[in-house]
Symmetry: C2
Subunit: 122 residues, 2 copies
DNA sequence: GAATTTGTATCAAACACATGATACAAATTC
DNA sequence: GAATTTGTATCATGTGTTTGATACAAATTC
């Protein structure tokens, strides 16, 4: 159950989101399973050269998504509800969608906008 | 060829992007066709209670996308290259993708991230 | 060709957001 | 139960982005 999180400070996507996304993917991939413990916020923050609040935010968002459970004094652990998914499946779906949409002549930006519209139909 | 553009100031997506997206969709839908003229930036800006530069930015981005052509003193018109697409098609593709991804238990955010990853493979 | 119309460039101000530092709260450890 | 560990709340700071105001440039109109 050893893993690594990396943060690219040059990226436009903020560190807390990079951390959240990477941990989320580790859980989805089943490389972190129910009961596994995430490193303490202070440890991960020190490793990455970030503030504790930054890692804390990533943990909080993962908790809101139901993937981990945090308790003060306790720690942060992967929940039983966080079932692993076949990793290639989502990527394949996304690739199929992108290919089909591009064939329609859709610009990348509008392609993502269409997904967002499908997510939250007014 | 009458149309309407609305801006929701409460939305987190900035006005210039709302304008761009709506006009882009009007063009994709074929409700604005090649040669059709967009309103002058000052007129649209006045209608929406925005600054000319805000509308101007939307026009500039549409031009960069090849959907319109702007000329000082002339105006801004839909290009011949901006071919209309079947409107339901993209929405249907997006809806299918969202449904399939959700069936995998994917969170909305990760669902969009997967598309972005498919767009720009590292 | 002068006046007008129309898009663009510039730049300071406003705004939104993430971060870092610090203090606080709750559970565990001994 | 005291000390330690761990997550959270707060808030000022910094950074990037959007906006608004204004001036400028280019085409059209008369």
């Amino acid at each position: 159950m050893t893993f690594e999180v990396r943060v690219d400070t040059a990226s436009p996507v903020p560190p807390y989101e990079q951390i959240r996304a990477q941990l989320s993917e580790l859980i989805d991939q089943g490389r972190l399973v129910a009961g596994d413990r995430l490193p303490p916020v202070r440890q991960l923050a020190a490793d990455l050269g970030l503030a504790v609040g930054t890692v804390g935010r990533a943990y909080r968002e993962l908790e809101a998504a139901g993937k981990v459970s945090s308790r003060r004094g306790g720690g942060t652990r992967v929940t039983a509800e966080a079932a692993p998914r076949p990793p290639a499946e989502l990527a394949r779906l996304a690739a199929d969608y992108v290919e089909a949409a591009r064939r329609l002549g859709t610009a990348d930006r509008d392609l993502i906008a269409a997904v967002q519209r499908a997510l939250a139909p007014q």
